[in-house]
Symmetry: C2
Subunit: 114 residues, 2 copies
């Protein structure tokens, strides 16, 4: 990274990717993206981890600018800051499909060879 500008750009992108790079956090974003806002308690139930752990994941996603929270009484609801995040995750789905297809092709070629 000779260029300092490129370095900053790459770091900013990597930060967002890092925020998403965990099964639990992917699951949270997917869930909210499909079903709308959720409170911490429900997420905790569905994830099956300690409340504190879930809360940490949520605050991390919030710090990354992917989620925002809204208090209602004692419960806190988290939601996506932008629909573009759901779109982004759909793009990831395409990558996975392509990867799978590619792996299949490689397997077939290996089996079918003489």
């Amino acid at each position: 990274m000779v260029d300092e500008q490129d370095k900053l750009r790459a770091t900013a992108r990597a930060e967002v990717l890092k925020a998403l790079a965990h099964p639990t956090r992917v699951y949270i974003v997917d869930l909210i993206s499909r079903e709308g806002p959720h409170c911490v308690c429900e997420l905790t139930d569905r994830i099956g981890a300690d409340t504190s752990t879930v809360s940490r994941h949520l605050s991390l996603l919030k710090s990354a600018g992917l989620l925002f929270d809204r208090k209602e009484g004692t419960t806190v609801y988290y939601d996506l800051t932008c629909d573009c995040i759901a779109d982004f995750m759909s793009g990831l789905e395409s990558v996975l499909r392509a990867r799978h297809k590619r792996a299949q092709a490689a397997f077939s070629a290996a089996v079918g060879k003489d």
Copy 2:
């Protein structure tokens, strides 16, 4: 993650995201996405790290199914396995723009308040 199926899905996605969640690897993918295939030596030059370090990043991206390599003489060229990866990174760009816009709005609100 009560459902085992969801867990696997989330893990698969997180793996790809993790592969990309590093400034150097983001930079590599961006570079190739914009300028086409690159050999290790050129990437090493532009990144400014040890050859072994760059090689490691590349093999990680390859393991994740995002890059493939092609030998030509003694040099090895890496390229994206799929254009959908470039599309995916464009989606990330949208997320960053939205994030920035949101931060700007929050700042304006904070300054403009009475």
